[in-house]
């Protein structure tokens, strides 16, 4: 049984890194100078969000990454992407407001700020 668990973990880890590379390679193709700074900030914040201790922040980063990949693969269009971004923002505003005062700035940066930049990066992706 333990080996089954290990296999599952290994598979899930491979899946995550495959998703990571899908987004990273998509972002590598973005050569537009005007979004270079946004792209760099987005990648930095997304990496921080994915490693955060808060499950909500990690969950939001994971969803955002998956949706950017879906957009790049044209499984959803920009209208759908924007619609999901708005849903995420609405849901996260309540979360950010419920954080202790000292944690609010960081929570906002790793959630709402990431979503704002994602909207700009998404235009360059398609």
């Amino acid at each position: 049984m333990p080996s089954a668990g290990k296999t599952k973990r290994r598979k899930s880890s491979r899946k995550t890194s495959a998703k990571k590379s899908a987004l990273d390679s998509a972002l590598d193709q973005v050569t537009d100078e005007s979004v270079a700074a946004s792209k760099k900030e987005f990648q930095d914040l997304l990496a921080q969000a994915k490693g955060d201790t808060s499950e909500r922040i990690r969950q939001n980063a994971q969803e955002l990454e998956e949706r950017l990949v879906l957009l790049k693969k044209r499984k959803i269009d920009k209208e759908d992407f924007d619609f999901f971004l708005e849903n995420q923002k609405r849901d996260l505003r309540v979360f950010v407001d419920s954080q202790p005062a000292e944690a609010q700035e960081r929570a906002e940066k790793l959630t709402l700020r990431v979503l704002e930049i994602a909207a700009r990066v998404a235009i360059a992706l398609i």
Binding site: Q59, D77, E79, D80, F84, N87, D91, V94
Partner: protein, 138 residues
């Protein structure tokens, strides 16, 4: 009965009454909360069924059927808000009602142009489940 014993009896009875009220109100709050959770689960099911019915790639869009389901859904949300006894839940229900309207507007726009994809349907359902879980404090 001497005055001190009488006073002690009054204090004891007052304490017992206060304790009984506190326990009863806790029980009532729990019952209300449980009923409220069940109501939210009913609304979640309705919204997921609605997405399953209309977010189907290639399905011909029938505006009248769509609008009838949206009107039925809006009425369910309004009824849930009006009947909600757990007052702290009313803003949550208002948010869920607004989410249903936003989902319906997006789905109408996509389905009427034949632009529904399997990924749209599955991501919409994922969002609905997440938002309802958060509303229930999970």
């Amino acid at each position: 009965m001497n005055p001190i014993a009488a006073r002690n009896l009054i204090v004891r009875n007052a304490f017992l009454c206060a304790a009984a009220i506190a326990i009863t109100s806790c029980g009532t709050a729990t019952i209300n909360k449980t009923g409220s959770d069940a109501q939210i689960e009913t609304l979640r099911s309705y919204e997921l069924t609605f997405i399953d019915e209309f977010a189907v790639p290639g399905k011909r869009f029938k505006p009248a059927a769509f609008d009838a389901r949206v009107a039925e859904g809006n009425a369910k949300f309004q009824q849930a808000i009006a009947n909600e006894k757990f007052t702290a839940r009313r803003p949550v229900l208002n948010d869920l009602a607004a989410q249903f309207k936003a989902d319906a507007a997006h789905l109408r726009s996509k389905a009427s142009r034949g632009k529904v994809t399997p990924a749209l349907a599955s991501e919409m359902k994922k969002d609905v489940n997440k938002i309802y879980d958060h509303a229930l404090g999970r």
